[in-house]
């Protein structure tokens, strides 16, 4: 198994302390590969992280378009393969307004499934063998993990100055 890097973990009680630290970490080279932890999705963290646009939207788009094509394709192919006489109308003639419902439903269905897949792929999930650095990060604490840093390094001093409540070493 690939060895996980060691480093330092800073635990914060306050959101503004965390975002201050994130802004400093983003402009420095010695915080490369750092990870931020939060119990929920505060917009302040998203703004401080400056992550850009999420590629999940492309999964949604491709899934939804596939659904549209599949929905209409399914109806058209089956109509072509064996035309049913409905209401005395000529069989085999596509009834596009009726097929809109199937096309719409499959657009939503495959778009939704693709969105979930996209979210899982981008979040690198499922990952059942992940390392839980601190169990409070899913409760009420925030954190920053800096790989390959030490307790007496410059990064630890910056995190402490930003208001970290505790900083501890994480073994590789």
């Amino acid at each position: 198994m690939k060895k996980r890097p060691g480093g330092i973990l800073a635990v914060f009680q306050y959101l503004d302390h965390l975002t201050d630290a994130m802004k400093k970490a983003n402009v420095r080279g010695d915080f490369d590969g750092h990870e931020v932890f939060s119990p929920t999705s505060y917009h302040e963290i998203e703004e401080a992280g400056d992550f850009g646009s999420s590629p999940v939207k492309w999964f949604t788009f491709v899934g939804a378009m596939t659904g549209t094509i599949l929905g209409f394709g399914l109806c058209l192919y089956m109509d072509y393969d064996w035309g049913l006489v409905v209401g005395g109308k000529t069989p085999g003639v596509p009834s596009l307004p009726a097929y809109v419902v199937i096309g719409f439903e499959l657009t939503i269905l495959l778009g939704g499934i693709a969105t979930i897949i996209g979210m899982l792929v981008m979040c690198k999930l499922p990952n059942p063998t992940q390392r839980i650095l601190d169990e409070r990060f899913t409760d009420d604490r925030f954190g920053i993990f800096v790989p390959n840093a030490t307790l007496d390094g410059e990064q630890a001093k910056i995190l402490k100055a930003c208001g970290a409540d505790e900083i501890r070493l994480i073994e590789a």
Binding site: Q13, F37, T40, S41, E46, W82, I102, F104, L106, I108
Partner: protein
């Protein structure tokens, strides 16, 4: 609205408070669960009798082939709608109060749609053949399903709705399941670790999660409006008097949301008391749910009235005759129960005092659920018993088998909902934290 909520708790209290439901439950929980199982037993016995002796046992005969089963189907699909409205549409509108009730409402949606899905299967009789009749599967006759039929649209609509509701619900659960994983030990930790997919709560994960949640909400929004519109087309696409009307889609959607919101209230009030969630699901949140119910009640009231106007103004004697008979004919009882429960009783909620009176509001919410069941029964039965040919007219009353299966469906719904209440967080902890005071340092707060 929720900005005015006076919080006495902080985000540090959320996990301890909400996950209290994982501990040993209140004895009333076991009583409720036992009752649910008894009701499921009644449903299974009724279904077994019908399968053994044939569809005649259900009491469905010419001219009413759609009776209580399709009433139950439409009722349960409608119940599901409030969950998606609250979780998706109100999410897009950034209505903060939804964060406290969304999880319970989503669970309600999932279990209600599963329950609804049983009824077309029960209704076809030999349900083991149903996959061939409903799905576009290759068969020995080389025939495909009829994509021009609203019943086929319904198959696609309901299965899509169930899948998307399930995904939406589970996606919201993932961070909360990770919270449980981080609190428990041993085998439970392994199970919740697997269920949470190994969620770590990194900022990047939240970034992609929020994007995905937003897109799913955007997809679910037209879906929720389309599903009950498509269900209404099961009726409106026919030429049956009382059914063939263009008002049906918005009328059905409003009715669905009305029944769903009432059911959300009916479920959340006992749960709030049973698990002591008063500090999280505040009275302001319950009141917001009531306001939404009242709004949809007025929409439904308007739809009931305009249906009569349209029937009269159309000059179609068959259409008008059905509506007159609904109000004063042999099925007038069902009609007036529907009107009083869905339109008249909710009017008490115009008073703020009544909105905040939980006992009164609970009674009205239950009455709305009763009224919405009667609404579907009224639409289906009163139109079918008398069509264009007087010689084919008939009368219909529910059989014991149908009543047994209806009670069974309530048992089935509550059976799953109560299991959910015991093993999963009933309130979304990660979303609740978002509407509570942010954990800012004293310096910045001052």
């Amino acid at each position: 609205m929720s900005d005015d909520v006076k919080w006495t708790k902080t985000i540090s209290d959320v996990n301890d408070g909400i996950l209290a439901n994982l501990e040993k439950p209140h004895p009333s929980y076991y009583v409720a669960w036992t009752l649910a199982i008894i009701f499921v037993g009644i449903g299974i016995a009724s279904w077994a009798y019908q399968v053994t002796y044939g569809m005649g046992a259900a009491g469905l005969n010419s001219p009413v082939y759609w009776g209580v089963y399709i009433t139950d189907f439409v009722f349960w699909v409608g119940i599901g709608h409030a969950g998606t409205l609250i979780s998706a549409i109100l999410f897009l509108f950034r209505a903060k109060w939804r964060n406290t009730v969304a999880r319970g409402a989503e669970a309600m949606t999932v279990f209600a749609v599963i329950t609804a899905g049983l009824f077309p299967l029960i209704h076809v009789g030999r349900l083991w053949f149903a996959a061939y009749w409903m799905g576009p599967l290759p068969n020995t006759n080389n025939l495909w399903v009829n994509f021009r039929s609203p019943l086929e649209w319904d198959v696609f609509a309901i299965s899509t709705y169930l899948t998307i509701s399930l995904l939406f619900w589970y996606m919201g659960l993932v961070p909360d399941l990770a919270s449980i994983r981080d609190r428990v030990k041993g085998f439970k930790r392994l199970v919740y670790g697997l269920l949470s997919f190994g969620w770590r709560g990194t900022a990047r994960q939240w970034h992609h999660y929020e994007a995905g949640y937003g897109f799913l909400a955007a997809l679910a929004t037209p879906l929720v409006l389309s599903v009950h519109s498509i269900v209404s087309w099961d009726f409106a696409m026919s030429i049956q008097p009382g059914w063939h009307t263009t008002i049906f889609p918005p009328y059905f959607v409003a009715g669905a949301i009305l029944s769903g919101c009432a059911m959300v209230y009916t479920l959340l009030v006992p749960i709030r008391t049973m698990f002591r969630f008063e500090g999280f699901i505040k009275e302001e949140h319950l009141e917001a749910c009531i306001k939404l119910t009242l709004l949809t009640s007025t929409l439904v009231f308007y739809a009931y009235a305009i249906e009569f106007v349209v029937a009269w103004y159309s000059g179609n004697p068959y259409e008008w005759a059905i509506f007159v008979k609904r109000a004063v004919g042999p099925y007038a009882f069902y009609f007036w129960v529907m009107v009083f429960c869905n339109c008249i009783f909710p009017l008490v909620w115009w008073s703020k005092k009544m909105r905040n009176n939980i006992a009164v509001s609970m009674v009205v919410a239950i009455l709305i659920n009763v009224g919405m069941w009667f609404e579907r029964y009224n639409i289906i039965v009163s139109s079918l018993v008398e069509d264009f040919i007087p010689g084919s007219w008939g009368h219909y009353e529910p059989s014991l088998i149908e009543i047994g299966l209806t009670f069974g469906s309530f048992g089935w719904f509550f059976f799953w909902f109560l299991i959910f209440c015991k093993f999963f967080p009933i309130v979304s902890m990660s979303e609740l934290k978002l509407i509570m005071p942010k954990p800012l340092s004293t310096k910045k707060n001052s």
